[in-house]
């Protein structure tokens, strides 16, 4: 069932396409994005068929089996229900957004983020492993952040995005804790195992902490009271985003997890008492606040909060029937609320405002949109013959059932009816205030019907609302049945999806809610005045802001305590701490161990002497920066020799290459710095530093002596033995880098690449005044590129390239490898810049340099991924012998490709950094010259 992984992967890969398709036109971007979703849907058809027959599909791949981590996807009824919701509503939203976004809005970015979100959400609902689920959970938070702040020029969008990220991100942290505890209790992170371990989980002393932490994650994500306030602020997002993320899908991730873990966690007192009251409070507060919101989207946001509360409450009640009702309401809410948001977006788009105090009488201008909105709002209110009525009635029925079951819960149906009445009232307001209630005054635009295609998604959703409302068991029935089966992990309870159940208490409650809602709406004016004076003053946001300010302030204080803003001071603390630990830890141990010492030869002694002189010279001459640099080169050179002496040729080669790049880097920097370091330190400070230096140096010497004079076993024996059989190379260093610890190398080059791109961006617009004469005041030589030097250096390039290829190819068996080869090529190219100038070299190098970095990373990653194709873990190396004419017998390992990737990254970053740095002054000096004397 690789298909499952593909379904999740397709949106992620597809996210690269919309921006690219935009070059062909805006319509194309939408088509391509839609195409991505359709292909994911097409892939879902066959698995969906199997799931509808009652199967649970699993697909697993070992990832870090030692840590209990596997990559796993699972498609059962519940996952299928959500996957369909995500894909179908996603498709409608893509169509809608094509017409919603203005010309000036970057459409590629929007669709890319949307697909990113879609992939994350699909991954979340189809995860088999809990840790993996959490990963996708966080990805939905991040993509939601990106989508809310889509109009990043707007302050409210940025603030809303930050708030949403802080709340859901914090919840994600709690969820991580909860999941780790759960995994600890069960002994596995696999969902199948966890769901079957109900007794173990409930009997465990860590059950309550795990439950609380997981619920925190759920409540923040699904905007439950008291974490609900981020959702209204997230309404700063474009309306398609609100329709998709903040009503139909992402906020349902919380209740999804509630449903997913229902068999494992529910059924305890703690569950009922934590979940049900939260749901009830959210239901009431959401419905109440929604009534008083003047912003259309604000009303819908609070209504969403209220409906999420209803779903949470249903799961909190904990009976199988309530869970079925909860699932049914998830489906119904997604359809009517998404269509309502889209309708609100159309109104905003065509009338220019969403403020219900300004909108009125739009019925005359947009009757079709009005009719659609009316039907959807009626579904939201729970009017019979629409889908909202059915699930709401199921909800009422459950509350009545609870009340007859247990005397103390008589409050439940009463509160449920009140919430129902409030829902009716705000739905009435939505329709009456916008489409009737007089004529519009001072609208920014003359409203009219939208483009036909913008209304189509709303039409489709409203048709679903009606169809489900009249024929529930023919439409959502089968899907609900498999979803409920997967949620409960048990035989389904008896329930019937029918419009007419006879005269039941639930019907009475529905009627009561409808008439009560009409009554509330009728007396809305005094109610509004009362609300303004009292509860309207409250806003949960200030609590968040106080908390945010306190957090920032606290961090600042802490930062001030720890961070002294002086490298010397920080180093002093570090050295003293290290010295104290050393002295405390090793006090009283014999200094010299039992190992025999290697005899000293005169050459080594001379080299050591040079090293000491070089180091001393660097310190003594450090004020004359250029001279100190020359002294430093001596140190670097002798260290390379030391590596040779102690049989580490790879290190010697690397040291030499790095040494050279460092010299060039420092020379580039020195050009913009004063030639001499001014004297700034006081005598006391110098004494302190001298003491610290003696302490640090002395202790390091002692420690090194103590370690080297003792016999010890290292892991090198194992590596030496396994290098050839395991990695196919006899150069252990290289085999470690590209094979045994290839994953580390991949991480390192990635970090390196990120750093290089950061440097690239930071240096891009930097211009510095370059000195016009040297330190002694002599003007620079007029010959920038002496002919002899230029000619000689051109000869150097092919030779250096050949050396590099040689070093790369032999790297797996003899000293060398991609890192060194990359540095050699980079230095050889830098030499061309140096001797022939930037212009000469740039015209001969086709294209930019930084794509090399990306290419290298891609190659290295692709090599790693390639081993999956052969069914081996990530970055497994394959190797074999080939006999090649002229070159003879060679052994090639797939690690070689990885090594080439490393090489490309190294070339890219070295050149990007050095050349960028070299050009800081160039622009400035070139400018006046090119005015008078234009060069090719």
């Amino acid at each position: 069932m690789t298909q499952l992984a593909l379904i999740v992967l397709i949106p992620f890969i597809g996210a690269l396409l919309p921006s690219w398709a935009l070059t062909a036109g805006r319509l194309w971007s939408a088509w391509v994005t839609g195409g991505v979703v359709v292909s994911a849907l097409a892939l879902l058809v066959a698995p969906a068929w199997a799931v509808m027959q009652g199967e649970t599909l699993l697909w697993q791949l070992d990832w870090l089996p030692a840590l209990g981590l596997s990559l796993g996807f699972r498609l059962d009824g519940l996952a299928l229900l959500f996957a369909l919701m995500i894909l179908v509503i996603g498709l409608l939203v893509i169509l809608y957004a094509r017409w919603y976004l203005a010309e000036r809005d970057p459409m590629g970015r929007f669709y890319a983020y949307l697909l990113l979100f879609m992939g994350s959400m699909l991954g979340l609902v189809m995860s088999e492993n809990l840790i993996q689920l959490l990963m996708f959970w966080e990805l939905t938070s991040i993509s939601s952040f990106l989508l809310i702040s889509y109009w990043r020029q707007r302050e409210d969008a940025r603030r809303g995005a930050r708030m949403a990220l802080a709340i859901t991100g914090g919840g994600g942290l709690a969820l991580l804790g909860g999941i780790l505890l759960l995994g600890e209790i069960v002994g596995s992170y696999d969902l199948s195992t966890v769901l079957a371990a109900r007794e173990i989980i409930h009997a465990h002393p860590l059950y309550l902490p795990a439950l609380v932490l997981i619920l925190l994650g759920i409540f923040t994500k699904s905007a439950q009271f008291p974490f609900h306030f981020w959702l209204p602020h997230a309404m700063a997002a474009p309306t398609p985003v609100s329709a998709y993320l903040h009503s139909a899908t992402m906020v349902k991730a919380g209740v999804f997890l509630l449903a997913r873990l229902f068999p494992a966690l529910s059924g305890s007192e703690a569950w009922t008492w934590l979940v049900a009251p939260t749901g009830m409070a959210t239901l009431l507060i959401g419905a109440y606040t929604a009534l008083f919101k003047h912003d259309l989207k604000g009303l819908l946001a609070y209504s969403t909060i209220s409906h999420l509360g209803l779903i949470t409450l249903l799961f909190g009640i904990g009976s199988p029937l309530a869970a079925v009702a909860g699932l049914f309401h998830i489906m119904n809410h997604a359809t009517f609320k998404a269509s309502l948001f889209m309708a609100a977006g159309i109104i905003d788009h065509e009338a220019g405002t969403r403020d219900m105090r300004r909108l009125a009488g739009l019925w005359r201008f947009m009757p079709q949109t009005g009719l659609l909105a009316m039907i959807a709002a009626a579904a939201m209110a729970g009017v019979p013959l629409l889908n909202g009525f059915l699930s709401k009635e199921m909800f009422f029925e459950k509350t009545v059932y609870m009340a007859t079951f247990e005397e103390s819960t008589w409050l439940l149906p009463v509160l449920a009816t009140i919430a129902g009445a409030l829902a009716v009232a705000y739905s009435l307001r939505f329709i009456h205030d916008v489409f009737f209630n007089g004529t519009p005054t001072d609208l920014p635009r003359t409203p009219h019907e939208p483009v036909r295609w913008m209304r189509v998604p709303v039409e489709i959703l409203v048709v679903i609302c009606i169809a489900v409302g009249i024929f529930p068991s023919l439409t959502f029935g089968p899907l609900l049945a498999v979803a409920a089966g997967a949620t409960l992990q048990a035989p389904l309870p008896a329930y019937s999806l029918k419009v007419w159940h006879g005269f039941t208490p639930a019907l009475g409650m529905s009627m009561l809610a409808l008439s009560g809602g009409a009554l509330i709406y009728a007396i809305r004016r005094p109610l509004f005045r009362w609300h303004e004076r009292t509860l309207g003053q409250l806003d949960a946001r200030w609590l968040y802001e106080v908390w945010e300010r306190a957090l920032l302030q606290g961090s600042r204080v802490l930062d001030h305590l720890i961070h002294r803003r002086s490298l010397q001071d920080m180093l002093a603390v570090l050295i003293i701490a290290a010295a104290a630990m050393l002295l405390l830890g090793f006090w009283g141990m014999p200094l010299t161990g039992s190992a025999t010492l290697t005899p000293l030869d005169p050459v080594s002694a001379a080299a050591a002497f040079c090293l000491a002189v070089g180091a001393l010279g660097t310190v003594v001459l450090h004020r004359q920066r250029w001279t100190a640099l020359v002294m430093l080169s001596v140190v670097g050179l002798i260290i390379a020799l030391a590596f040779v002496k102690f049989s580490a040729p790879d290190l010697a080669l690397t040291q030499l290459a790095v040494e050279m790049v460092t010299i060039i880097l420092l020379l580039l920097a020195l050009h913009f710095l004063p030639a001499e370091t001014p004297r700034e330190s006081s005598l006391a400070r110098k004494l302190r530093d001298l003491l610290l230096a003696l302490l640090g140096g002395g202790l390091t010497t002692v420690l090194t002596w103590a370690v080297l004079t003792r016999p010890y076993d290292s892991i090198s024996d194992w590596l030496l033995r396994n290098s050839v059989p395991g990695g196919g190379g006899s150069n252990v260093v290289n085999v470690i880098l590209v094979d045994f610890r290839g994953f580390d190398t991949l991480g390192e080059i990635t970090v390196l690449a990120i750093a290089a791109i950061g440097i690239y961006m930071m240096l891009r617009d930097l211009r510095l005044e370059a000195p016009r004469a040297d330190a002694q005041g002599r003007p620079w030589s007029s010959d920038a590129h002496p002919l002899i030097l230029a000619t000689f250096s051109r000869l150097l390039l092919p030779l250096a390239l050949m050396v590099a290829v040689f070093i790369l190819l032999r790297g797996h068996h003899l000293p060398g490898g991609g890192f060194i080869a990359g540095l050699i090529i980079a230095v050889a190219l830098v030499m061309q810049y140096l001797a022939n100038g930037v212009l000469w070299t740039q015209t001969r190098l086709s294209g930019e340099l930084h794509p090399l970095i990306g290419l290298g990373l891609l190659l290295a990653t692709a090599t790693g991924l390639g081993s999956w194709y052969f069914g081996a873990p990530f970055l497994t190396s394959a190797h074999g012998h080939w006999s090649v004419p002229i070159l003879g017998e060679i052994e090639l390992a797939s690690a070689m490709l990885f090594d080439i990737g490393v090489m490309l990254v190294v070339i890219g970053i070295t050149l990007v950094i050095l050349i960028r740095l070299g050009r800081i002054g160039l622009m400035q000096r070139r400018a006046p010259i090119s005015n008078s004397d234009p060069k090719p």
């Binding site: 005169p602 002497f609 001596v634 010959d783 920038a784 930037v838």
Partner: protein, 98 residues
């Protein structure tokens, strides 16, 4: 060098003398590097140090009868040149990549 044949003896003596002379040359270059007096003197001293190191590495490989460190010598030859050019260019133009 277990079999002390005549060639072995000559090679050994040559190596001894070679090491001695090159080491002396290394120390002398270091001396020039420190006393200067001018910046070009120091560049030349560093360049000579590079060349002497190449000699040391080759001598070492002859002594060990291996070719393991020839690449290191090759790289010093390559990089030493670039380093010298960079240092010199800094003195004449200040900006080494322009």
């Amino acid at each position: 060098m277990s079999d002390l044949t005549e060639t072995g003896l000559i090679l050994n003596s040559a190596l001894m003398i070679g090491f001695l002379l090159v080491t002396a040359a290394v120390l002398l270059s270091l001396w020039r590097l420190i006393v200067g007096p001018d910046k070009p003197d120091r560049i030349l001293a560093l360049d000579t140090l590079y060349v002497n190191t190449i000699a040391l590495l080759v001598l070492l490989d002859i002594k060990l009868a291996s070719s393991l460190y020839f690449e290191a010598a090759l790289l010093i030859a390559l990089f030493g040149f670039v380093g010298t050019v960079a240092l010199a260019k800094f003195l004449t133009r200040g900006d080494i990549i322009e």
